[in-house]
């Protein structure tokens, strides 16, 4: 399933040239998204036009030029995992909140990522906040700072699975922690 991939760990900080075609593509895509949410509502474009324009500008500015391959199977596995974990995460935090004893043992921990692709890292950081007991609080130099509700030996197990599932979506191999620190 995983195919060899170009290394994508180069930060893309240099602004690159954008083509008018790319801009048009974003405007059309986001315009369609707006229409999907507000079908047949002409007045909604009063807000929609500036929002689509701003969102397109942001997308053009932030979109990294690295070519990516997505795996459908990987997407389905990630989605299944995410939905299952959403239930666990919501249930876990609800139980803690409603329990009279309110069991909490929070800690702020660093997790060095094996994922090196920037987009994959951002996706992981966002999904992580919806996993049971973990919340992303910072991301710098390939290390995520995670706030956990209940620090223990099992803390990083879900995180590792999530990382593997995200890598599966992008069909990219996972490096080792050493690679990142080197």
């Amino acid at each position: 399933m995983s195919l060899p991939c170009t290394p994508t760990d180069q930060p893309s900080l240099v602004p690159r040239k954008q083509t008018a075609g790319e801009a048009l593509l974003w405007i059309i895509t986001l315009g369609l998204l707006w229409t999907a949410i507000n079908p047949g509502d002409l007045h909604s474009w009063l807000v929609g036009i500036p929002v689509v324009a701003l969102a397109s500008a942001a997308a053009l500015r932030l979109h990294s030029p690295v070519p990516r391959r997505y795996s459908l199977l990987g997407a389905m596995r990630l989605a299944t995992f995410f939905v299952a974990q959403s239930f666990r995460g919501g249930w876990d935090v609800a139980k803690r909140a409603l329990s009279p004893a309110m069991p909490l043992n929070p800690a702020m921990l660093n997790y060095p990522l094996r994922l090196r692709d920037e987009l994959a890292q951002v996706l992981l950081v966002n999904l992580n906040s919806l996993l049971p007991g973990t919340l992303s609080a910072d991301l710098a130099n390939g290390v995520v700072t995670i706030h956990v509700l209940d620090a223990g030996p099992e803390t990083f197990a879900d995180m590792q699975t999530l990382e593997e599932r995200v890598a599966g979506l992008f069909s990219i191999p996972l490096g080792t922690e050493k690679d990142i620190r080197a």
Binding site: P39, V93, A97
Partner: protein
Amino acid sequence: MNLSESISAVLILGGMFFFVAGTVGLLRFPDFFTRLHALTKADNLGLGLVIAGLAVQASSWADVTRLVLIWLLVLGASATLCFLVARTALRHGQKPWTK
């Protein structure tokens, strides 16, 4: 109540339970970061269940798609905002509560 109405009622009530639990967490949890946990996770699940409950009653597939789209957009926005709020707090020296 017919079957779809009953399913819808169960899902929406389930969703409300998680919204309430998230709010209780927001009020009871000891610090900034633990409160963020309560908000993001309970509300994500709560909204998902409410959306699922409404989708059961939707009159067309277009409406179902729209509901799912709304859920995904809220999910993306809340995860991103949660991260930005937590990062800002951390970088400004907000200390996490410990036992």
